[in-house]
Subunit: 435 residues, 2 copies
């Protein structure tokens, strides 16, 4: 069984076989461009075979995670964008939703709290409050060390750590994930003696979750990073070997391209497990930042079902016909519950007695896909067997690779992000930043 | 000063004065239709003057909240859609992001945890685990009592409460917010002796946050519900009195209608305070469910800035030109921090030393609006003075009222949601539900 399955039967009334086979050559060309490193942005292809590249610092990273788990009730991860979303996506998919609360209550584990991902003094004050009477460490993640949000935030935590543990003690609790040789953070880390991990030069932020950027926080959360990387490696093998007709990655890229060319404006990534919420946020960055340029690209949006069927459901069913849906399905849940019988049966649910909740959830997913297809919303489906580290690794690589292929088919450089600078330029001007 | 200000200067290059004045009559007609209760869906206008209507049970509701705060470490709120999003939006806007974690750690307060808003057994198992060794109460919120997600979920909590406290003890910890006389939950509550609160017949789910649906959980979270209601009342007065040219509510409705008619497909509600994330989710239901019908309506999406400038920012700046932005601004933050000077200045941030973080956040907001306008994204702005209960009450009423006006201008019934039934019908068939 493949690590990630792709099913487009829910789009067959929208995309003809003919349309798909016409896209075969184009898709394969994009794959070749990618594999041969001859396309636009080819200096940022480090993510492509990353799961196969040995990282000399990996054992040191695991040791650092172990140390943090021993000496810290909280790890504050300071980063934004690609230095934030990947780790959060993996952690929320694979840990208990109350893992942080339990760690903060002293029930074990290290809470992983994200900061430096906004400029809100309200939020930052709360994080400073929650760590000030607890043992904590900081993982600051920034290629340059000068990105405003994490840099401003790190100043506060550095000061607090130095007040609490002294300058040397603080240095032993700060881990910098940054450039191998250049940049402000690297310079500071060397001067202060922080342990550092490297963001490879050829891996862009939104593709960096399987580098130390994602791996250190993920390991601190107690997740099996070996399995995560193994899943990505497995996916790499599959997409290199499988022919177009059975290549999940190529078919997803081709199908979404077909729907975009038919005039769809929005791709909605949906799930039926609340833990996948941040995987969707990570996916939004991956696709939005890779494809949203030159006036082109699908607008990436997300829904958590069945929750959002009771909010966005009406629009999806009956509103403007501008979107298609890609569902992420987990075939076997990590935990399940059996619905009991009730003598009074006021709620009329005894017809479900003896059924597992997951069974009900799966029928909701089937019924939703049918209803949305009827309503004119093409449905694609991406499935994994379980929500475990291996599958999440596979999903990450699946989406990354499909994104690159899809971006080349759109005719853009999927690896740059020129538009992100625009607001910063204005902000720096308003703030009077020295040139 | 108005409780909610509306500024459309960021759209002036997209909407002419002429366009706005052409919409004046149409907007005023929609307002009259609403006030005179002569439009479609006029049996669901209870929300309209709700802030003015005395609720005989309000003191009892506050007493129930006080009791829960005394005898429970956790309140589990079981509800979905409108029986979930409003309370969560208000609570997250007005409480510390770690309030639940602190309550669970025994540092005071009652954690408010939402369940029954999905069919995930993984999530539900975790909530059951977190409450089983703690004192807890349940607020089950459902008009009918038969909506699958909350009904299935409530069975588990009822069983756990009865095991823990006995049937009578459990009954004293269950609060049912439901229909005044009909429905499965009302019947069960009467039979078991649960304290009940009423969802008014003429208030639909997405407009129910200022009824007991929202007020009980909000009060348990320690929020000043008097101020919340007073803010809504204040907004009601403003929108009744102010003429079109200075009526924030009418102008927002007219501006978004103008942009929709120009061909925009997506409205992006953005904020610069992480605490507003769920207000956006609430807004997405309000607008998506009210307007997304008959193949029409703006697709409602949300971003938390500056966080998402590092993920969705590229698309917004340079991708397909299908959206406009509505920013929610908080003029004065509840807490602020001053950026310190650093002797080494590795990060080059000393030019900000002595500045408050909020000042930087505000320049980011200004710079972003300028950049997005330059990029072809019209910018609307909704502002409140502070993020306090009064302002949030005002914002809620502002968005509700503008939504109704806007829906009438779109030519739909803003108060029904026929499309929500489609997936349920399929699901019930698949589950073999008796007819």
């Amino acid at each position: 069984m493949a690590i990630v399955d792709f099913d487009m039967s829910g789009a067959q009334s929208f995309i003809s076989e003919n349309e798909m086979s016409q896209l075969r050559n184009e898709t394969e060309d994009a794959c070749v461009k990618l594999a041969s490193k001859t396309g636009a942005g080819n200096d940022f292809l480090g993510w492509y075979d990353l799961p196969l590249r040995p990282d000399g610092d990996y054992c040191r990273l695991k040791a650092a995670a172990e140390k943090i788990r021993k000496d810290s009730e909280v790890l504050v991860v300071v980063g934004i964008g690609g230095s934030y979303l990947g780790a959060r996506a993996v952690i929320e998919a694979l840990t208990d939703p109350f893992a942080n609360a339990r760690a903060l209550a002293g029930e074990g584990g290290t809470a992983v709290i994200f900061a430096g991902n906004s400029i809100s003094p309200v939020y930052l004050s709360s994080v400073l409050d929650i760590v000030k009477d607890r043992d904590f460490s900081v993982n600051v993640i920034s290629k340059s060390g000068t990105t405003t949000e994490p840099a401003v935030t790190f100043r506060f935590f550095k000061e607090l750590l130095e007040k609490k543990y002294g300058r040397k003690g603080a240095a032993e609790r700060i881990y910098a994930t940054t450039d191998s040789s250049r940049g402000a953070l690297k310079k500071m880390a060397d001067a202060e003696g922080y342990e550092t991990f490297v963001i490879p030069d050829d891996v862009g932020g939104r593709f960096s979750v399987l580098t130390p950027v994602g791996l250190l926080p993920v390991a601190v959360a107690g997740i099996d990073t070996d399995a995560l990387l193994a899943g990505a490696r497995e996916a790499f093998g599959e997409y290199n070997e499988a022919a177009f007709d059975v290549n999940a990655c190529c078919r997803y890229a081709a199908a979404r391209t077909a729907l975009y060319r038919q005039g769809k404006s929005v791709e909605l990534l949906v799930n039926y497990e609340p833990g996948l919420h941040f995987l969707t946020e990570w996916w939004k960055q991956l696709y939005g930042e890779s494809e949203g340029k030159e006036g082109k690209g699908l607008f990436p949006a997300g829904c958590d079902f069945t929750t959002d069927l009771h909010s966005m459901g009406q629009y999806i069913q009956d509103g403007a016909r501008i979107m298609f849906e890609t569902a992420v399905e987990v075939r076997v849940p990590e935990r399940d519950l059996v619905i009991g019988s009730d003598a009074d049966n006021y709620d009329g649910l005894n017809y479900l007695a003896g059924r597992s909740m997951d069974y009900v959830n799966k029928q909701a997913a089937k019924g939703t896909a049918m209803a949305h297809i009827d309503g004119g919303v093409p449905n694609l489906k991406v499935s994994v067997e379980r929500l475990d580290a291996r599958s999440v690794g596979g999903l990450i690589y699946f989406f990354e690779r499909a994104c690159a292929v899809s971006g080349y088919m759109l005719g853009v450089n999927p690896f740059n992000q020129p538009g992100v600078e625009a607001y910063k330029k204005n902000m720096f001007k308003l703030l009077g930043k020295p040139m």
